[in-house]
Amino acid sequence: MPDDRSAFSLKALRRRPEMWLLAVILVVGTVFALAARDFLSLPNIIDLLETYSVQSIMAMGLFVVLVSGGIDISFAATASVAQYCAALIATQLGLPAPLVIVAGLLIGTALGCVNAALIHKMRITSIIATIAMMSISFSLLMYFSSGKSIYTLPDWWTDRIVFYQTETAVGDLVRITLPIVTMMVVALFTWAWMTRSSIGRQLYAMGGNPEAARRIGIGIGKLHFVAYGYLGFMAALAGLVQAHRVGESVPNAMYNTELAVLSAAVLGGASLTGGIGTVPGVLLGIVLLAMLQNGLNLLGVSSYFFQIVIGITILISTSITVLSSRRGRRHRIIAEAPGNG
């Protein structure tokens, strides 16, 4: 078999980064656990889970778009818009909870579909289209809200919902709350949907080779709407959960989270060229980022330093995955040396 893999297998090499990521996480975790005593405590871990639930929900949506071969920069802005509009509906019109939630989610999905339309119908590159959409929706939000936060969210929205709670030996309270449960449900659903449903597999196929997907009769247009619509929906959900956690709607609260989420997804092995990535990988990416941020925080390190560490971690972990798989597989059986016959 011709071994012409090494030259163009970069994609192939990036396929199973989860194992490496897990190793890096274990190393980093051990270091922090030794340096900062609180780091490995149950309350700290649960707290981390809750803090990063919003980003994880967004990451699940972004993951789908990345797999489909696109990229989206506008989801944090979408989340803010959906959250703020829902907050307005709840406070100004006083509509009941289900209507507010559905309205918020619909707004997010609709914004995602606008992205899909721009990308598929107008043939604008996804990064350009979504950067433009980010500026537009975020600026409109700031303009109409004048940057004013909404503090008077109804109780149904801000009341903590605890699914399970227990007390540790030391007397700390540990609670499994709504954001954590939402995140888990979303992750589980996304995972099952992308690996076990036809649409999910079609999305992988489209990300791997869009022209081939078109040629076998996959509806490329429809899939664009599915992927970006799903991200819009997840962004809105994340927005609603974020307001639930902090008890208010601040228009620019989620500004800038898109890059953190994107780094986590890439760190977790989702390819920017499409077709490659897994839900567990992306979650591990978030875990690593969360650990770094929290650990360095506990150690009292400046947040600029954190950015540097993130950058370096991404570089190291991606190079490790590349190098580790570079040893090509060789499997020819070489004939016996010809004897003297």
Binding site: M1, P2, D3, D4, R5, S6, A7, F8, S9, K11, A12, R15, T195, R196, S197, S198, I199, G200, R201, Q202, Y204, A205, G207, G208, N209, E211, A212, A213, R214, R215, I216, G217, I218, G219, G274, G275, I276, R329, R330, H331, R332, I333, I334, A335, A337, P338
Partner: protein, 497 residues
């Protein structure tokens, strides 16, 4: 003969790409359950015709009838629903998905919300591969496969779905004779099941072997359709090109010429072992062997892409240490790879830019800038010498036909003016006239003193072009022959034995 309506009938199909008229008023039909071969030079419009039928490119004009009924506009999904399958020339696989999923991809198209049953996918894929008598690991990701294995996956995908007509666009391009035979047997079996096959190939021996009817195309027009009994290889070649082509032996004894490249005990674990040979100046040395014989791996090592575990390479009497292909290029070794479309060209870039890619350093003047004029001249020169069919050297490579893309890669490496030129299956997918053109270029280079290593699995090719032929099997050189001293038939026997 109950029903004589053909399965597919085209009337006046034309297709333009900008200014280029790729198809010009094609009238054509395919009967039920027939094996119909489509031949013509590179760029004559064979692939475009197929794509126009299945709606990958909408035809600019003309009508398509299926089963005697007009079908308005086909798109890929509707063509499938009507029972038309295509094995595309560029394979159109999904590099990120497994073999099983690629083969059974259509299972995903049935119902969007239906859960995917992995076992079912694997079952479908296993059945087809068994029918084809190929053994591939179903969970391997396609980007890890070799070119030939990918070709097999593409064929398997075309056969997996229920079809009444299968277009096969150069399905044998990267297969060796043994594999080709298996495919041809399958094609005959399809016919027995009443499935029509349209088979595109540049290997005319295959064509006359399986076809019932042959359609010859030239410059976007149909020359005509003949029952295969009325034409032979020579006649087809003549209809395609308007030329008569003969293969005569050119082997010369180059033993007295100065040694150029000397390889001693070269080994690479798991790939090849104890390779010894000498290449003289101006010699054309053939390396022939079946798929998996280690020939490509050897070439990649000589080109510095892989490192040898043991052994020595000497070039011009000086030991050669290759730690990358850049070293090889600098030492004067050029390599035209087997997987041209994967490795050889940058598809969206212009033809001119691709040709100068490997010589940018030499072309660059002060400050590392390249004069447009010298670039243009070089590109035009090679386009002419290799008679590449282009609308202009500023057009992107991806607008060329498959065979012409290949010649762009050849031009790129010839522009480096190498001392040693390694050609890995250089004429796969190239039409006969231009095969001849490439052989002439090779002969011309050899006359200028370039040493050429020609890797191939077509005996007729090495027989007609090489001075000496090494025979590789299972990673070792097991024999050397001189064309003329053994007959082509004898050589074939030894290789396929």
């Amino acid at each position: 003969m109950a029903d004589e309506t053909p399965f597919l009938r085209l009337t006046g199909i034309s297709k333009r790409f900008g200014g280029v008229k790729a198809l010009d008023g094609i009238d054509w039909d395919v009967k039920r359950g027939e094996i119909h071969c489509l031949v013509g030079e590179n760029g004559c419009g064979k692939s475009t015709l197929i794509k126009a039928v299945v709606g990958v490119h909408a035809p600019s004009s003309g009508t398509i009838e299926i089963d005697g009924a007009d079908v308005p506009v086909l798109d890929p999904a509707r063509a499938k629903a009507l029972g038309i399958q295509v094995i595309f020339q560029d394979l159109s696989l999904f590099p990120n998905l497994s073999v099983a999923e690629n083969i059974a991809i259509e299972n995903h198209l049935e119902h969007a919300l239906k859960p995917v049953r992995k076992e079912r996918l694997r079952g479908v894929a296993r059945d087809v591969l068994r029918r084809l008598n190929f053994d591939l690991d179903l969970s391997t990701i396609v980007s890890d496969l070799s070119v030939a294995e990918r070709q097999i996956v593409a064929i398997a995908r075309g056969l997996a779905a229920q079809a009444r007509l299968i277009f096969m666009d150069e399905p044998t391009a990267s297969l060796t004779r043994a594999e080709v035979n298996r495919l041809l047997a399958i094609v005959s079996r399809l016919k027995a099941d009443g499935i029509a096959v349209v088979f595109v190939s540049h290997r005319l021996d295959e064509v006359v072997e399986i076809a019932e009817r042959v359609t010859v195309m030239r410059d976007g027009r149909k020359v005509g359709t003949w029952p295969v009994a009325e034409v032979d290889q020579k006649r087809i070649a003549h209809l395609m090109t308007g030329l008569d082509i003969d293969h005569s032996i050119v082997a010369r004894d180059m033993g007295d010429a100065p040694e150029l490249l000397h390889v001693e005990k070269l080994s690479r674990r798991g790939e090849f072992a104890d390779i010894d040979f000498t290449l003289h100046q101006g010699e054309v040395l053939g390396i022939i062997g079946l798929l998996g014989s280690g020939r490509t791996e050897l070439a990649l090592t000589l080109f510095g892409m892989h490192r040898a575990d043991a052994g020595a390479i000497t070039l011009d009497g000086k030991p050669l240490r290759l730690s990358s292909n850049r070293d090889a290029v600098e030492a004067g070794i050029a390599y035209v790879s087997e997987d041209r479309l994967g490795l050889g060209v940058i598809l969206p870039q212009s033809i001119g830019d691709n040709i100068i890619l490997a010589v940018m350093k030499q072309l660059a003047g002060r400050f590392g800038l390249i004069a447009t004029k010298s670039r243009q001249k070089l590109a035009d020169d090679w386009v002419k010498r290799l008679s590449i069919k282009v609308a202009g050297t500023d057009r992107p490579v991806q607008t060329l036909s498959g065979g012409n893309q290949q010649r762009v890669v050849l031009a790129k490496w010839l522009a480096t003016r190498p001392k040693v030129l390694i050609l890995d299956s250089p004429t796969v997918g190239v039409d006969i006239k231009n095969k001849q053109g490439i052989y002439e270029v090779v002969a011309e280079l050899a006359r200028q003193g370039v040493g050429v290593i020609l890797i191939s699995d077509e005996v007729s090719e090495v027989f007609a072009t090489c001075d000496r032929v090494l025979h590789m099997r299972s990673g070792r050189i097991i024999g050397a022959e001189v064309p003329g001293q053994v007959s082509e038939h004898e050589m074939e026997e030894r290789i396929y034995a």
